[in-house]
Amino acid sequence: MIAAGKQFSFSVLVLLFVLFVYCINSSRKGRVPSIRKLPALDAIEEAVGRATEMGRPVHFSPGIVELTHERAPQTLAGLSILSHVASLCAKYDTDLITTIMMPDVYVVAEDVVKQRFLAEGKSSQYRPDMVRFIGAEQFAYAAAAVGIMYREQVAANIMIGAWYAESLLLTEAGAQTGGIQITGSATVAQLPFLVVASDYCLIGEEIYAASAYLSRDPVELGVILGQDIAKAVTIGLIIAGAVFLAFGSEAIVNLVTM
């Protein structure tokens, strides 16, 4: 039934699902795992607070890929963090500018910001131009977002999502306005730019842990534990594969390509 060459992947997916469900149940029963500090996420409140003190806006962008793209999980992670940022902005009466490149993300982002302002009891503070659709053209978006950052002198620039060549344009604009910059991505090719140009950077899987970290929900923390167990097993498999290959056996290679 399962296509040749995908049997191992399917088995791993099923095993991961079982592992995550086990970790969730274990966490629900009270064995809540702890999570290491993520300074980038801790700095979000500081960044919004600083923008509030300065009376300047916060800029947020959830990346430049659409929700049907293979990198869409990064966009969803960005929207998750937007939810937290919008809550903080509503709480502190801080102006929020969310720039969006893809139309389907715009619709969701608008709803996220509106919902968080409503949940914080500040629906009257919400303005439709807090979420701005720019246009589905990469460098047109970059030019517009850079212009907005300069013109509106943003005090904090938060960019979490999937990025391409425009990442450095945006982070450099953020750096030149003198604001705190918090970035994050799992797009490996852009990470060096984000790391050097921003104050705090979420690297790879950290963006997916943000929701659990910010909510401290035991169920979500259970999933993070499952993820760490899976990572340890993967490292073990890589080491075993290298040792087996060194001794001339292709057993592990054959297993994973099944």
Partner: protein, 200 residues
């Protein structure tokens, strides 16, 4: 959402099986829905743009001219595209002579941004700063023609840095991120995480 997710997952894994062809058909229909929804979202995005920039024009604020330019360009491109098609000479002229050079200019400006970012980042204030600075100098000299004139060490070291420690680091991040994606998918699949929809 869970049912749709299950169909899409099974569509990826299931091979040629006549009895399960309905899964592939459902996945195709679902993808078509995605395209239709995106098209509507584009319409909503265009309305957002028009609303914001027409307000700016009507108020005659300091950026009103740029807002007017944006609305005018948008209308011209929509009219040319809808009335004459995206292959028409008028549309092609606007695309090739305005949009494309403007995009290339933005892309080219990255080179200057790299220099300013490098100037700020390559300050050797601590061990990590020193490591970054030394690695960057070796890689830059390895890539530039002058590097091999100075010493054969630079091209060899540059290639080693890129193919061994750099690749190892990148693969580690990719594998961690892949597990992160699966864990996020499981949370959404089970309805445990709705924060990306603004819910807690």
């Amino acid at each position: 959402m869970t049912v749709i997710a299950l169909v899409m997952i099974l569509d990826f894994f299931i091979g040629d099986n006549a009895a399960l062809a309905w899964i592939g058909d459902t996945a195709v229909v679902t993808r078509s829905w995605g395209i239709v929804i995106s098209a509507f979202a584009m319409g909503l995005g265009a309305i957002n743009l028009l609303r914001r920039h027409s307000r700016s024009v009507l108020k005659r604020d300091e950026n009103a001219f740029y807002s007017f330019l944006l609305i005018a360009s948008m209308i011209v491109m929509i009219v040319l595209g809808v009335a004459f098609g995206t292959e028409s000479p008028g549309y092609d002229f606007m695309f090739s002579n305005i949009l494309s050079p403007a995009s290339s200019t933005m892309y080219a400006s990255i080179a200057f941004y790299i220099v300013t970012a490098a100037y700020r980042s390559f300050s050797a204030r601590n061990l990590e700063g020193w490591l970054l600075l030394i690695t960057a100098v070796i890689v830059m000299l390895g890539k530039a023609p002058i590097g091999s004139v100075i010493s054969d060490f630079f091209p060899v070291a540059s290639t080693w840095i890129e193919s061994v420690p750099n690749t190892a680091g990148m693969r580690a991040i990719m594998m961690g991120a892949a597990l992160g994606v699966i864990s996020s998918a499981v949370k959404m699949f089970l309805g445990l995480d709705k924060s990306y929809l603004g819910q807690r």
